[in-house]
Symmetry: C2
Subunit: 116 residues, 2 copies
């Protein structure tokens, strides 16, 4: 039955998007198309160096790619990888959802039994 939901979650990918700052960074990169550590840090409550570290982990899991351009290093989102991440969110979400549904049904069944 619901075994097909066990679409194995990649912990590295997940924990990459688990950090709120990194999520906002991905948001920014998506709406602005691209960005550097310095430009991103201007829109965030953390320093450039913190952003740099985050870009490092996002890069390591493949969520962003960098292209050096003169004195700066422009990052942009790897869309297919982000799509994978979104799929995992959906996967875990719907797995829990399914179990919650089942619990609800069982609870209702017990209610009915009690009323016999």
């Amino acid at each position: 039955m619901s075994a097909a939901l066990a679409e194995k979650v990649d912990d590295d990918l997940w924990s990459a998007i688990g950090d709120p700052t990194r999520r906002r960074m991905l948001d920014l990169l998506l709406v602005e198309g691209e960005g550097t550590a310095t430009t991103l840090s201007r829109h965030l409550p953390v320093t450039r160096q913190a952003v740099t570290k985050h870009l490092g982990v996002l890069d390591r899991v493949g969520l962003v790619r960098a292209t050096p351009a003169g004195r700066e290093k422009r990052y942009q989102v790897d869309e297919t990888q982000l799509a994978r991440a979104v799929a995992q969110l959906a996967s875990v979400g719907s797995a829990w959802d399914a179990r919650l549904q089942r619990i609800k049904r069982i609870a209702e069944a017990i209610q009915r039994t009690k009323q016999d």
Copy 2:
């Protein structure tokens, strides 16, 4: 349009479900109905004390509730709160999804332009 997607994400809730161990704990609690720190730790690659700490953060954000029973302390999932968490996953996921779609459309438009 897609502005309604900005359903403000609760960072505490999110980071609670961001940890892989805690996710597995929620899974276990869902399938088994309830559990204690010791029973959960038997199914996990970490010690009872680690599980205890995790139960602490899950409790603090309201994802689980404890009921003392003699010498043990049984935990179970708070379904409505988990439902909220699932909603947030869906929210972030679909927001990114929407932006990815838009990017794709723009890219296609550019392709068409080039071919004129």
